[in-house]
């Protein structure tokens, strides 16, 4: 089994993660990482295909147990599974090889196997490593999928589920009720397709130099999603109010962070 460096593992992770689906318009061949509820075996098989095409030799790891995973990509913030699967890579930067997991539905980078297991809520799961050729370990009629026909069917099914959720009242992922507000984030916002909306935030010390930026939270590769402009009101001798106008440049609802930094 050929090993890769940690840097190469990150490159392979980024290779598959770049295929993430836009939630409201999940067109093939994208991978519905943002629908964590189900379909992991299809995602894993497609990720292995992409990594093999790039010259890597991924394997798979299957985990069984009472799995409970926190996810900001499900409206109730919790995913429960009886089993789960993801590709693995053998990683070495000169020392002994370590198994890393490539699972963009749970992480934004490759993680050691122990880390991957630890977030799934079962202290004693059953782990079964296999080769990449195993499509479905627990359903014998679909054990293999050399033509990727079954894979494409699974991906199509869960692209549809993702789209249905994104256009439902819940809206697209991620869901702010599942997220902690990081330092430097003033608010989580949602903006409708092709809309322009203005937010204000008051009580800022006027002697501070404050810079405002916006960062989409809803991934959708392919073009710019948001632009913004900032205006300011001197509310009194000591404080200011900032007015931030955000424009959604896309035909999909976008969630975002409104960020600030003090420059002085």
């Amino acid at each position: 089994m050929t090993t890769v460096t940690l840097a190469q593992a990150h490159e392979l992770f980024n290779l598959v993660n770049a295929k993430v689906c836009c939630p409201a318009n999940p067109a093939a061949p994208c991978i519905p990482f943002l629908y964590p509820d189900d379909g992991c075996w299809g995602r894993a098989h497609e990720m292995c295909r992409l990594m093999i095409a790039a010259g890597a030799q991924p394997q798979k790891i299957w985990i069984q147990g009472g799995l409970k995973v926190s996810s900001s990509n499900k409206p109730n913030c919790l995913v429960t599974w009886g089993w789960h699967v993801a590709p693995t890579l053998q990683v070495s930067d000169g020392g002994p090889a370590q198994t890393y997991i490539v699972d963009p539905s749970l992480f934004d980078h490759p993680v050691p196997q122990a880390t991957w297991v630890s977030v799934q809520g079962d202290p004693n799961p059953t782990l079964t490593p296999t080769g990449p050729e195993i499509f479905h370990l627990f359903y014998a009629p679909q054990r293999y999928d050399p033509t990727y026909a079954l894979t494409n069917g699974v991906l199509a099914n869960y692209r549809n589920e993702l789209r249905l959720r994104a256009v439902s009242p819940a809206g697209p992922p991620p869901y702010p009720n599942c997220m902690l507000q990081p330092a430097g984030v003033q608010w989580f916002g949602t903006i409708e397709p092709n809309a322009q909306r203005r937010w204000f935030t008051f009580g800022w010390p006027a002697n501070r130099h404050v810079f405002w930026t916006v960062m989409p939270l809803t991934p959708c590769p392919g073009g710019p999603q948001l632009s913004w402009k900032v205006a300011v009101e001197r509310a009194n001798a000591n404080s200011a109010t900032y007015w931030i106008t955000v424009t959604n440049l896309t035909a999909e609802t976008v969630r975002f962070e409104g960020r600030f930094n003090y420059l002085n």
Binding site: P216, C220, P221, G223, P224
Partner: protein, 84 residues
Amino acid sequence: MWTGVQWTGTVQPNTTHRWFTWGWAANLHVVWYMMPTSPRPGAPELDWEVAVERSNNAQCTYWITVRNLTNAPVSFEGRYAVLS
């Protein structure tokens, strides 16, 4: 905070051109600004707008539209600062 020059470019007279730069860590707070390298005293030379795309759960792509306000070509540096 750290700063840098991501690219150098030229915008033709009275035109607008858009650049993109990808693979930025989305958790970083990054701001973009332009600096002409073609001296032309007396009036503003460039303005710009920034838009952003979340390309996946970890990375983003910035799209920077630069406008030449003059009737001569303007060369410039595309500068960034990572605020946090």
